[in-house]
Amino acid sequence: MSLWVDRFRPKTLDELHYHQSLSTRLKALASSGDFPHILFYGPSGAGKKTRISCTLRQLFGSGVEKLKIDQRVFVSPSRRKIEINVVQSNYHIEITPSEAGNFDRVIIQELIKEIAQTQQVDVSAKQRFKVVVINEADTLSRDAQAALRRTMEKYMSNLRIILCANSTSRLIAPIKSRCLLIRVAAPSTEEMQTVLEHVAKKLKFDLPPEASCQIAEDAAGNMRKALLVFETLKMQSPDLSGPLNIAKPDWETYCHKIADLIVQEQSPERVMQVRAKFYELLSHCIPPTIILKTVADRVVERVDEALKADVMHWAAFYELRMRMGNKKIYHLEAWVVKIMCLYKHFTYNIDMSEFD
């Protein structure tokens, strides 16, 4: 019994519920025989992966669904062994090079070249090329992206690359200019509601419109989240009537608690308390960027209009530092102290400028 998210994942392009024009485009491209390299980008939970797998199915038929998972070992020039998981069928291969961290270039060079230089042996295959799906392409290092450049042109007859990324900002221009860019926008609330209703219909029960509306709004464009929440709610109260209580994830309530602590009191003791809580979150593998964003969002709701801009400004500032630096907690803490300082300065009119 799989989760609803996987069970009701559309398998073909026709089954997709929203972005119809995009689906027709993809379908046309897949059947024209002249298939380009593609870069899918959009926010998470918008359906990029689903569209990729549907396109692959359109290209090669149901054979792509026979997947096997492999572990491959590569040796870097400095003789370090790198292991990475590879999901593949007869027609395509899916990799997440960012698993290898700094060594992603080696994987791109070795694996993609290896695939590019072997021709499709299966004569009955629909297409002469294989497809390489690269997940999280925006986390590829510069070197790895540079390594892709010529490969994408040179081996066009044997190989197509599908990149999947959250944003195109971090991709170098030469890669973007070699791909067909496809933007997958997050579904609107109404579109999400139709999907939820579709799932309810498949499972043969009634979904009250208020409930679906509430779920869709809570998910804010993240279809995966919406479906997961929907399933949980269904487990909790099978008839889905009455006021719904969408449970927030633990870490989110925890983040809100931190925000409240910051706004209530500004003192060195408080900083220590907040620090302990940050550590707790980090040790549970919540990404620091998400912690910072959630806390900042909450703080912004609690402070005066005049302070809001500054709170976000410094959040962005320290987020970048966190990215560049090594030790995340320093920057989270620095942000907290900065906000406390600003807050005190503003509410009690104490001159804190000497701390800048």
Binding site: L148, R183, A316, L320
Partner: protein
């Protein structure tokens, strides 16, 4: 089994033969064959033509923005020098997809550079090629080579200068170490002007039987900023999309924008309005917004809705920047403040910062700069 084999190989060979030209990207298909085909870059071409007739080449360095024909030029030049048969033996092409650490420079490049070129074969296509007595090493994307690897090249370039010429191709001349740069004669490739881009595009469009209107060509040129490869790729993608439906729908400028990942003008205008950039009458927005108060919450909503649409933050900032720079009524001081904010955000985005936070930050900064 033996019964099947011959038949199978035959079909495979057949299908391969007529599959290849179709599948080729137009960028490869219409790569210039001779240096006379190169669009624009008159100066470089003139110098190279002279070199071709005297069959003597210096070490060369080609630099310039992507899509201006650097790789095409050197490939065309070496093909003209050596002809198709000798090309393989005389030219070593290494790019960033090959391992190019110091060990490769020491082994592969050095070994290749020190070989004395073999005598010329008679060209199979009957043409006469100059085929001068040296080899060419093309180091494509040389700016991604490490400093050490570049350092190792220094002496090699001099020692074997008699029998080997090097051609470095790069985007950023500053990433090449000074001793290497000084050994080469440099050729700068400038972004293509719109007339040569449009003539090239029209040439390809006619050869491929694609109907394009002048507006489409203008959009192609606009969205690719002088990068010919990019505009050709866009044209091919657009034609694929239009040809795949029956009956073929004509290509519209909006299609090109979507393919190029450009944020629609209405969205940018709307965003600019939310930030307090007053829009002149000739710009259109989505809906004429009521005179609402532009506060923090409205800006935050706007940013998150744009992010939900999946537009790329850096692209949005580029377009916003273009809007602000040409704005007629904004005082220079405010423009400068806005641009500083945008520049800072661009750096942050390149370093991988969170898109939503930084877009919001820029939005708030611009808003602050514009409100008196």
């Amino acid at each position: 089994m033996a019964f099947f084999l011959p038949q199978q190989t035959k079909t495979a060979a057949e299908s391969k033969q007529h599959a290849v030209p179709e599948l080729q990207p137009w960028v490869e298909k219409y790569r210039p064959r001779t240096i006379d085909d190169i669009s624009a870059q008159e100066h470089t071409v003139a110098v190279l033509r002279k070199a071709l007739s005297s069959t003597n080449l210096p070490h060369m360095m080609f630099y310039g923005p992507p899509g201006t024909g650097k790789t095409s030029t050197i490939l065309a030049l070496s093909r003209q020098l050596f002809g198709p048969d000798n090309f393989r033996e005389r030219v070593l092409e290494l790019n960033a997809s090959d391992e190019r650490g110091i060990s490769i420079v020491r082994e592969k490049i050095k070994v290749f550079a020190r070989q004395t070129p073999r005598a010329q074969k008679v060209a199979s296509d009957g043409n006469l090629y100059p085929c001068p007595p040296y080899k060419i090493v093309i180091l494509d994307e040389a700016d991604s080579m490490t400093q050490d690897a570049q350092g190792a090249l220094r002496r090699i370039m001099e020692t074997y200068a008699r029998i080997t010429r090097f051609c470095l191709v790069c985007n950023y001349v500053t990433r090449i170490i000074e001793p290497l740069a000084s050994r080469c004669s440099k050729f700068r490739f400038t972004p293509l002007d719109s007339s040569s881009t449009s003539s090239r595009l029209m040439h390809i469009a006619t050869a491929e039987h694609v109907n394009v209107t002048p507006e489409v060509v203008a959009t192609l040129i606009d969205s690719s900023n002088g990068d010919l490869r990019r505009s050709i790729t866009y044209l091919q993608s657009a034609s694929r999309l239009s040809a795949s439906t029956t009956p073929p729908i004509p290509i519209t400028p909006r299609d090109i924008e979507e393919i190029a990942g450009v944020v629609p003008n209405t969205v940018v205008n709307d965003f600019a309005w939310t930030l307090g950039v007053n829009i002149e009458s000739d710009m259109q927005t989505d809906d004429v917004p009521a005179n609402t108060k532009r506060g923090f919450d409205i800006i935050r909503q706007k940013v998150s809705s744009i992010m939900r649409e999946g537009y790329s933050a850096s692209q949005l900032l580029v377009q916003l920047h273009d809007k602000i720079i040409v704005h007629q009524t904004l005082p220079a001081r405010q423009k400068a403040k806005c641009v500083i904010a945008i520049a800072e955000a661009d750096k942050a985005l390149c370093d991988g910062a969170d898109e939503e936070l930084w877009t919001l930050k820029v939005a708030l900064q611009i808003h602050k700069a514009l409100t008196p």
